[in-house]
């Protein structure tokens, strides 16, 4: 069984933010029906590929449907005749909070890279004369250490069936761009038919990255039809 953590989308919020950024939507006024459709088609494609989708995506799809439905109803008013809170409010707040952290983590990435090559001294001779105070001796440090030890047995007991994936996402990205540029356009399901699941997964992940970086373009005649992959030409 596969449990896919898409490298590009850390979760449903990330995917939603991607749609919002791509289509230059106003985060404070999200067009719910449009984004619900986008989200659902993403979920459908994942299902089409027979990939097990993290439950959170399904949950988000239904949350979006719920908000959409609520927006269609006449807006309830409170006793002063003022409109009660927009059903999108909570979602927007969550998206903003997520975005706030996401942007901070990008800054942390720079800090990490800057400090990657500072190495500390690792070996200290035991100086018997000095009085030693250990600084990492709390109950929780102990608990964490015990957990790590027992986890290791846990992993050793598990049988690991590791499916070897002969190609990496990086390699497949190069390959895809080459093929698409050569043939003009390809159909995703054609391209991946009769291929092992691992190949399909890697291809799909490569495709997602390429779409994100605008190196390839995809289109679909209908939600359930094959995805057509073509070179990225500015069609707008």
């Amino acid at each position: 069984m596969y449990r896919i953590h898409l490298p590009n989308f850390e979760g449903p919020f990330d995917l939603l933010l991607y749609f919002i950024r791509r289509d230059e939507l106003d985060i404070y006024d999200i067009p719910i029906s449009k984004i619900t459709e986008e989200f659902q088609s993403y979920v459908r494609v994942m299902k089409l590929l027979d990939l097990e989708l993290a439950g959170e995506f399904i949950l988000m799809a239904s949350t979006l449907m719920y908000i959409k439905a609520k927006l269609l109803l006449p807006k309830p008013k409170d006793e002063n005749g003022e409109e009660i809170e927009d059903p999108r409010t909570e979602l927007v707040q969550k998206l903003l909070e997520y975005k706030q952290i996401k942007e901070a983590s990008e800054e942390l990435r720079h800090a990490e890279e800057k400090n990657l090559h500072y190495h500390e001294r690792k070996f200290f001779n035991n100086d018997e004369s000095a009085e030693v105070i250990y600084t990492n001796t709390t109950m929780f440090d102990l608990l964490t250490a015990f957990k790590t030890a027992v986890d290791r047995i846990d992993n050793a007991i598990q049988e690991h069936v590791v499916e070897l994936i002969p190609i990496s996402v990086e390699e497949q990205k190069v390959e895809l761009v080459k093929i698409v540029n050569m043939r003009g356009r390809i159909k995703f399901l054609d391209f991946t038919s009769n291929k092992p699941k691992s190949f399909i997964v890697v291809t799909f992940l490569a495709l997602l990255e390429l779409i994100r970086s605008n190196e390839l373009f995809i289109s679909q005649d209908d939600l359930f039809n094959d995805i057509i992959i073509s070179p990225s030409i500015n069609l707008n």
Partner: protein, 237 residues
């Protein structure tokens, strides 16, 4: 008023002070914050550094041996070590000063011995540690409500890496553990304390488009949070 004795360290020639400082930090297993460093340097052979009251800081300050003086020694030492292609530098990170390899030789050593190279965190890891860093103490449900996805494995992975630890228990139903960041996290990101975390953007700055013609006003309840984090100083063991 006069100093009975100049503390041993300050009685050394300045050049030797610098080198002694480097050697001192070499023997330290934990970063040394400026207060403890001053205490050690100002202690005399006769008194232990713990007898702080004996140390005549004010008198030392008067003759110019204060924090600025010591910080200046560190700067000069780093410059000399850089000019002479020496492999070590003193940096301020993880709560104080420590001696580490220079970036140049750190990179070289990493190429010779790949085992010491720190791998960069994955995006999921980075995102999660950012949430923990800014919102600590925070429980797993708290983390998951921001990320929108199950984060158990990621949190446990960060614990294994030594960047996150349990710092308590929540009063919320089920008493979930509360997580916080460690000194190793600060060190890996070159932060001296949590106050050094990059400031979170104001929510207003986060909007994607400037057009505010929408008919809805949003009640934003989060604006205080960034302030909260600045003020809060989560204790580190």
């Amino acid at each position: 008023m006069e100093l009975k004795d100049l503390p041993y360290f300050f009685s050394l020639p300045k050049q030797e002070q610098k080198i002694a400082l480097e050697a001192l930090l070499f023997t330290m297993e934990e970063p040394l914050d400026i207060n403890r460093l001053m205490k050690i340097l100002a202690s005399n052979e006769s008194n232990s550094a713990d007898e702080q009251d004996i140390i005549e800081y004010e008198l030392l300050d008067k003759i110019g041996f204060n924090r600025e003086y010591v910080k200046n020694l560190i700067n000069e030492l780093n410059n000399e070590n850089s000019d002479n292609d020496r492999p070590f530098r003193i940096i301020e990170s993880g709560g104080g000063y420590s001696l580490v390899t220079s970036r140049k030789y750190g990179k070289i050593v990493g190429k010779i011995n790949k085992n010491i190279v720190r791998r960069k965190l994955s995006n999921a890891n980075l995102e999660t540690i950012a949430i923990i860093a800014y919102r600590q103490p925070i429980s797993r449900p708290g983390i998951e409500s921001i990320r929108g996805v199950n984060s158990k494995e990621i949190i446990n992975g960060l614990i294994d890496k030594g960047f996150v630890r349990i710092i308590g228990k929540s009063d919320a139903p089920g008493n979930p553990y509360l997580y916080g960041t460690t000194t190793d996290f600060l060190k890996a990101f070159g932060l001296n304390s949590l106050d050094d975390l990059p400031k979170l953007k104001e929510l207003k700055e986060l909007g994607f488009s400037e057009s505010e013609e929408s008919g809805f006003t949003l009640r934003i309840e989060m604006e205080d949070e960034s302030k909260q984090i600045d003020e809060k100083n989560v204790p580190e063991a």
